[in-house]
């Protein structure tokens, strides 16, 4: 059974195998198909038109399925690998072990943002940014960009306390849990972390930085945590909503999976914290 662990608790061997599996997906070309898919959705999801991957109720089930696809791809390389999550309320500085050279490498140099160490530095020859919107083919970061701070645990708790999943108009202007977690409104959780990392993570081709998966694995965990706190709060909307994926409607690009299929993560994986509490 797949157990997703806090990245801070990974052993050296677990980090090594995760990095190796990511490298292999990159080498084979499979990695970049995930980047392309994400960018296609982020450019087409609109507040006033059809929206699936972002700025809409299906932000959470869409990314749950997207991460499942990626995790299964990793496991096709190494069956022992699972997606770790990054709790950025706890590991909130560039000095975190997350950014050490044996895992994701650190921030970019000031001149051009280029990441200079770790397994994903351009100089290592294994991580060329291929799906891109500008001329630069090297991974970039600017951790703590512009003096920004990562969200605090108190800010996360304030969003987890919201008892309505999502609200009309079901977009970036909505009140409710989903949009506050996504960050278009309120204290700003998910969006702010993308901006904090900087570089490609702040763009539509954000999965070019492997931290994308660890960030979204934590967002996904927060959805599970919210469900545990609000067991009577359903996914919304329940049906008949134009341009929006209702509970039992299928999501592109898969067209065979609905939000209802994604509500319970436990058929697919558990979290290290689930195991501790049961």
């Amino acid at each position: 059974m797949t157990v997703r662990k806090n990245q801070a608790a990974l052993t050296a061997a677990e980090k090594r195998r995760f990095v190796s599996a990511v490298h292999e997906l990159k080498r084979s070309g499979r990695y970049d198909t995930f980047v392309t898919t994400h960018n296609a959705f982020i450019m087409s999801d609109r507040d006033d038109a059809e929206r699936v991957g972002h700025r809409s109720p299906s932000f959470l089930p869409w990314h749950r399925r997207f991460l499942l696809d990626f995790e299964r791809a990793l496991q096709s390389v190494d069956t022992e690998v699972t997606l770790p999550y990054w709790d950025w309320t706890a590991d909130r500085t560039p000095r975190s072990s997350l950014w050490a050279p044996d895992f994701l490498g650190g921030t970019g140099r000031s001149r051009d943002g280029r990441v200079m160490d770790g397994p994903f530095a351009r100089s290592g020859g294994r991580w060329t940014i291929s799906v891109r919107v500008d001329g630069r083919d090297f991974l970039r970061r600017n951790l703590g960009a512009g003096g920004l701070s990562l969200p605090t645990r108190a800010e996360v708790d304030s969003v987890l306390a919201m008892d309505t999943y999502d609200m009309a108009p079901w977009n970036s202007g909505s009140d409710g849990f989903r949009n506050h977690l996504e960050g278009w409104r309120g204290v700003n959780l998910h969006n702010r972390v993308h901006v904090w990392v900087g570089g490609q993570m702040a763009t539509g081709v954000s999965p070019n930085d492997p931290v994308f998966w660890l960030h979204h694995a934590f967002i996904d965990k927060l959805w599970a945590d919210w469900q545990a706190r609000h067991p009577d709060s359903p996914y919304l909307p329940g049906g008949g909503t134009a341009d929006v994926v209702d509970l039992d409607e299928t999501m592109r690009p898969w067209n065979d999976v609905t939000p209802a299929d994604m509500l319970d993560h436990t058929p697919f994986y558990t979290y290290d914290t689930d195991a501790a509490s049961s």
Partner: protein
């Protein structure tokens, strides 16, 4: 949900790689700002989606409402086109009137002009290119 046909093309990796093919599809379908270049939108903090044309940090940035279908298939994206040194920057307006671009997608700013300037800062002199997948 409706409109599956027009979006089906964007749901595949192959089609997504070809922005030249995807853009006209979006342009034809985008109803945003159909009222055209409304001179002032509330909440836009002093900037409205009027045209602009300037050299910012050594780069020419231009923006204009794009209901008229200039630039071949480049019109659309919510009815506003932004160019950096002649290359289109994909921009989008949020429900609250703020704007983002593909370069700064998680960080809304008050106007397309501000989005263009933010992209110039982020690009650090690098050329903007249509989505590259090689």
């Amino acid at each position: 949900m409706s409109g599956i046909t027009r979006r089906r093309a964007l749901g595949t990796v192959a089609a997504a790689a070809g922005t030249a093919a995807a853009v006209p599809v979006l342009a034809a379908a985008a109803p945003a700002l159909a009222a055209g270049p409304a001179p002032t939108r509330s909440g836009s903090a002093g900037h409205d989606p009027a045209s602009f044309d300037e050299v910012y940090r050594g780069r020419r940035i231009q923006g204009h409402p794009s209901g008229g279908g200039h630039h071949g298939g480049h019109a659309g994206h919510g009815g506003y086109t932004v160019l950096i040194d002649g290359e289109e920057l994909h921009v989008m307006q949020n429900a609250d009137g703020t704007w983002i671009s593909v370069i700064t997608h998680y960080d809304p700013v008050p106007s397309p002009h501000a989005a263009a300037r933010a992209a110039v800062v982020e690009l650090q002199g690098s050329p903007l290119v249509p989505l590259v997948t090689a």
